[in-house]
């Protein structure tokens, strides 16, 4: 093999691997990113049913209900908008009414959010960052921001 052919084959291999990587990244980024919305934003944006998304806000006081089995329903609020959520499974240890929560799933046709994953692993002082931002946007955020989140735990 000549020097030139060797160099070409190396460059060719590099371009191949690089091209595959770029292709995979573009393909994966198109279909596998999940947007985060607050209940108000969901109303405003008319999100289509079935689209995977993350929602966040506070669990409204008095909204938590257990259905038969392990299904639960609750309402997530950001002060302005409300969104009913259903979830089947074990709730995180720190799930409480009045606390911040993030849920992942999609809307059904009735406008209920079917969550397949609920994240609330934080202590009593901590608020998930997205939730805090969403609440600030709606102007219902009170309380010290930095001391509230110095011991943050989301998982």
């Amino acid at each position: 093999m000549t020097r030139r052919a060797r160099r070409l084959s190396l460059i060719g291999a590099a371009l191949c691997v690089f091209g595959v990587a770029v292709g995979l990244v573009l393909f994966a980024l198109r279909d596998n990113i999940v947007f985060f919305y607050s209940p108000t934003e969901i109303e405003a944006r008319h999100v289509a049913p079935g689209v995977r998304l993350r929602i966040g806000g506070l669990v409204e006081q008095g909204s938590f209900k257990r259905d038969q089995g392990r299904s639960v329903t609750f309402v997530v609020t950001d002060g302005k908008g409300n969104l009913p959520v259903t979830y089947t499974g074990i709730l995180p240890d720190l799930f409480r009414e009045g606390q911040g929560v993030v849920a992942e799933g999609s809307l059904d046709h009735a406008g209920t959010f079917r969550a397949d994953n609920v994240l609330a692993k934080h202590d009593e002082r901590y608020m998930p960052r997205e939730v805090a931002d969403a609440l600030k946007k709606q102007g219902v955020w009170q309380g010290g921001n930095s001391s509230a989140s110095t011991q943050g735990v989301t998982r």
Partner: protein
């Protein structure tokens, strides 16, 4: 008083770091041996003072001195002693102090184990270490001082985050930091080589042990972190593609690439510029990891801090070092001699392929980790890039490596033949094929798992094809030849086989069983081949928590094989609860059970898992690290070489590099 001594020692360490950052480099510029030699003693003195500071903080934690803000916020007098000691780094300030401590240990080791290296190289490397040390000591002193006091001391502390009250905290951060910070040594040597404009095979020989050591620690640190997350978070998952995990995976990928291309540089005196670049990249990614975790950009279990001043400071450090190194690289890289061009089918060609794939994989992880941050900064849209993205990019890129790794080992330097390599790998390929066919017929399961399992078996057997074939060739007894082979040959085989074990463990997740059930006491639930019965649900009390324990028997065919005690714990000081999983290791598989709070009717909601051969994931990492250790002990590569060369009057490396 002891605390004030510690604080003062930290300030002194900072001043010494400033000295170390300037004087040796001036000496290097002027060619003054005495100025250059000062680097060693200053590095050792800096180490001593940081140890003093660290010891003082540990003392304050052990005696529960709540007049310190740091101790008050993260400790409690009732906390067990082991968590008082490990709790020192279970918070932002202490963790950064540990970072600095590990950095000073690295600096001191360079000073101690570098007698044979050329004086300018050592002075340059220690000078750059001085810069890093000064930057981080200033960061600790200015924004994250662990020695800050209250005017009036509280009577009791607020306790450590319960998730961190675990033996994992004692092991995971130090291992990870030795990995992260270990790459600072490689970085410093690379920068020194760029400053002096000299780099050759001798440089690779000197630096290789440091890369190996950092890589080993990082491997163990990541594996330990993964196992800790697995048993402590109660979800049965061991890798979440969380930004914090990715932050440790990226330097590992870059470090693995660096490790492999160093051997090309050592053997063929080529790929110099690329090696230097990877050395810079590995530490840059370590710094990025520190930034992501420490700045509070991401809020997660590791991000104790949420103070923007800290974030900006670390970002400045990041920009200074990465930017500085890359500018130095751009200016000086042309001065380095370019190496030869390789044959594509050869050991070095295979190593180039390895580097290509690993850096591309690293780039995909980088994009997935930082894209949400960048998008939010630019457009305000909040997105999350989760496991599906990474599974779709990382796995297709990296899984073929398992196929390529045994081939790479079979190829000779300079020129190899694929056909010959394939012939020597027929047994391995046959075993892999039979095993995956048997799996597919007997168990079914996801196609990806079957492919991955087949590749893993090919990799494990194929890794040893070379050493075994060489043992049976030539004169003398087989064992004598096997043991007479260079340790680095065995080390490669073992490390590669370790990777195979990990892949096999990962593949096995396809055959796992997950059940989410409401269990009444006495009721039996089938999980995989086992039957679980919770016999009693009783309250209990620990040193600083209350708990409900669900005592559970695991039966196979009516015989009790294990008992587990999953619990729901409540930590009153922090008003926090967490699930303590009950795990029984049966063979290489594990039964995993985590419970929620008790329901009104006395039943308990539980997650039950059967995970066949899951333990291999972490055993594989241990085996990889063992391979690294064996390579370190190789007389031609590791520290032992350096030690022997020192004993000799005329050190060959010094000549080669001078």
């Amino acid at each position: 008083m002891i605390v004030e001594i510690g604080h003062y020692a930290l300030v002194l360490a900072f001043v010494l770091a400033l000295f170390q950052a300037t004087v040796p480099l001036i000496g290097m510029r002027l060619g003054d041996a005495r100025l250059m030699q000062s680097a060693r003693s200053v590095a050792l003195a800096q180490f001593a003072f940081v140890v003093l500071a660290y010891a003082a903080l540990t003392y304050a934690h052990v005696v529960s001195d709540f007049s310190l803000v740091n101790v008050y916020e993260n400790s409690h007098s009732a906390k067990p002693l082991v968590y008082k000691i490990s709790g020192v780094w279970g918070n932002h300030e202490g963790s950064m102090l540990l970072w600095v401590l590990v950095l000073s240990i690295c600096g001191a080791s360079v000073a101690l184990f570098s007698r044979i290296m050329p004086e300018p190289l050592r002075a340059g490397a220690l000078g750059v270490q001085g810069w890093i040390g000064a930057a981080f000591l200033l960061f600790v002193l200015a924004t994250s001082n662990p020695f800050a006091r209250f005017a009036e001391a509280p009577l009791e502390g607020r306790d450590l985050n319960p998730i961190l009250q675990d033996p994992g905290l004692a092991i995971h951060p130090p291992l990870l930091y030795f990995g992260y910070v270990g790459f600072s040594v490689t970085f410093s040597f690379a920068a020194a080589a760029l400053i002096s404009g000299r780099i050759d095979a001798g440089w690779a020989l000197i630096v290789r042990p440091w890369v190996l050591a950092a890589w080993m620690f990082l491997t163990l640190g990541i594996a330990m972190g993964s196992y800790w997350a697995y048993y402590t978070l109660g979800w049965g998952g061991f890798w979440f593609w969380d930004p914090v995990e990715n932050a440790s995976l990226m330097p590992w990928l870059a470090g693995t690439a660096l490790l492999h291309c160093m051997s090309v540089m050592q053997k063929r005196d080529a790929l110099k510029i690329w090696t230097i670049f990877l050395a810079i990249l590995a530490f840059s990614l370590s710094l990025l990891g520190t930034f992501l975790v420490r700045s509070g950009v991401l809020t997660s279990v590791h991000a104790f801090a949420n103070d923007p001043a800290r974030g900006v400071f670390i970002l400045a450090i990041l920009v200074l070092f990465i930017g500085g190194a890359l500018i130095l690289f751009a200016v000086r890289a042309n001065a380095l001699q370019a190496g030869c061009v390789f044959a594509p089918v050869s050991r070095e060609g295979a190593l180039v392929l390895n580097n290509l794939v690993l850096t591309c994989a690293c780039a995909t992880v980088f994009i997935g980790t930082l894209y949400p941050l960048a998008l939010e900064a630019v457009t305000g849209e909040k997105i999350s890039v989760g496991a599906p993205y990474f599974n779709l990019t990382f796995i297709p890129l990296c899984l073929p490596l398992a196929l390529a790794m045994p081939f790479g080992q079979q190829l000779a330097w300079k020129r190899g033949t694929l056909l010959g390599a394939a012939q020597r790998l027929t047994i391995a390929a046959g075993c892999a094929f039979v095993a995956s066919a048997a799996l597919a017929l007997a168990k079914g399961g996801p196609v990806l798992s079957i492919i991955a399992a087949g590749l893993a078996i090919f990799l494990i057997i194929g890794s040893f094809a070379d050493v075994i074939a060489r043992s049976f060739r030539g004169p003398g007894h087989v064992l004598a030849r096997a043991f007479g082979m260079p340790r680095s040959a065995w080390a490669t085989s073992i490390a590669h086989a370790g990777m195979g074990l990990t892949i096999l463990g990962l593949a096995s997740t396809g055959w796992g069983v997950e059940e989410i059930v409401r269990m009444q006491p006495g009721q039996a639930v089938a999980v995989g081949p086992y039957e679980l019965t919770t016999t009693s649900i009783v309250p209990g009390k620990g040193p600083n928590f209350e708990q409900t324990v669900a005592h559970t028997l695991i039966r196979a065919g009516g015989v009790t094989v294990a008992e587990i005690d999953p619990a729901q714990r409540f930590y009153p000081v922090r008003q926090m609860s967490r699930a303590e999983a009950g795990i029984a290791t049966l063979g290489l598989g594990q039964v995993y059970m985590s419970v929620a709070e008790v329901n009104h009717d006395g039943s308990i909601d539980a997650r039950l898992y059967w995970k066949p051969i899951v333990v291999l994931i972490w055993i594989g990492a241990l085996v990889m690290a063992a391979g690294g250790l064996l390579s370190l002990s190789d007389r031609r590569i590791g520290f032992a070489y350096v030690a022997r060369a020192r004993r000799r009057a005329a050190p060959p490396i010094a000549q080669a590099a001078e």
